[in-house]
Symmetry: C2
């Protein structure tokens, strides 16, 4: 058995735990996700969990949020690269997000929102993982806007508002079971980006 395979097998259970936890946190938040459910979905046992994550559920959740954040960053990267026009690129992000949500029965959206909102002020570990994710996405959008010709002074404020609108629109979509809010957001954000050019 070569080193690469060994590495993969050694971390296989750990990866399954992180992936399963990320999916569950996204759908039902932190308190709504029990360890036993995670173990069942991941096909793991308590022994493995506390071997890889000695601090238990909280440590696993923080890691799962980082994993989910990278996933969401990929979707954002794809959307932002979809057009030479930054306004059109932002609009495409909204379309991609709407599509992903619709195809998953309104479950697969922002991987941190549900968990972050309910643990604010009660778990520094999870909160800072959430904060880093949001700041990473803000940075990606800001870089794309700057590159697209938005003056640096406005790029930060605009990027932050783009992310806010996408996050909020996703909330409205998921609650109503309708992608209208994200369609509206895409259209209006394109207008806003052009107004900042």
């Amino acid at each position: 058995m070569d080193d690469v395979t060994e590495e993969r097998e050694r971390s296989d259970t750990r990866t399954r735990l992180v992936v399963a936890t990320a999916a569950l946190l996204q759908r039902q938040g932190y308190e709504g996700t029990s360890i036993k459910r995670i173990l069942k979905e991941a096909g793991a046992t308590y022994g493995s969990l506390y071997h890889f994550f000695p601090h238990g559920k909280e440590e696993l959740a923080a890691e799962a949020l980082r994993f989910g954040a990278d996933d969401f960053a990929r979707l954002l990267r794809e959307g932002l690269a979809s057009s030479p026009d930054p306004a059109e690129a932002v609009a495409h992000c909204a379309r991609l997000l709407a599509e992903t949500l619709r195809d998953s029965d309104w479950t697969d959206g922002c991987p941190v929102a549900a968990t972050a909102l309910e643990i604010i002020g009660r778990s520094p570990l999870i909160q800072s993982a959430s904060d880093e994710a949001l700041k990473q996405w803000r940075g990606m959008i800001e870089a794309r806007l700057t590159e697209g010709g938005v003056p640096g002074a406005r790029a930060a404020a605009l990027a932050c508002t783009v992310l806010s609108a996408l996050e909020g629109a996703e909330l409205l979509c998921r609650v109503s079971g309708d992608d209208e809010p994200l369609r509206f957001a895409g259209e209006q954000l394109a207008v806003l980006v052009r107004a900042n050019a």
Copy 2:
């Protein structure tokens, strides 16, 4: 004892339960809020709870969300009425929200977001109460924009995006412990409203 006082006393415990639940749901979501904690905060017992809400926690939560929604509607109403200019009025909503959040240590924001996100697809009762709240707020913003001169065709999309941006910016503020996202949102939404006039 006259009828009015009698009515108030009769529903006193019920009201305390609803108020306490609304505050807890806003801060820590549905699964993170135990019945025993609610009873303690409200100064009530199981007997009273299941007398007023035979279907238990879920029924109480739905009622608490409706209560919180009216509270948030008042803040929105105040902001929307603060200026004859709709762009300035929207910006003031963002300021009011930022102020309320800061003054409460980042806990008192949207009363439904945390709870709604974690129960989506698992409690029709709570989800529809959340949906109604969001639609009520959208309607208020849309009416103000239309009255302020935004063409009817665009008012709905703009109002929806304003609410989305406020909700998302609040998430970013609470997670980061910084009101910057709401300041940015207020500034950018004013630009967007003017672009739609």
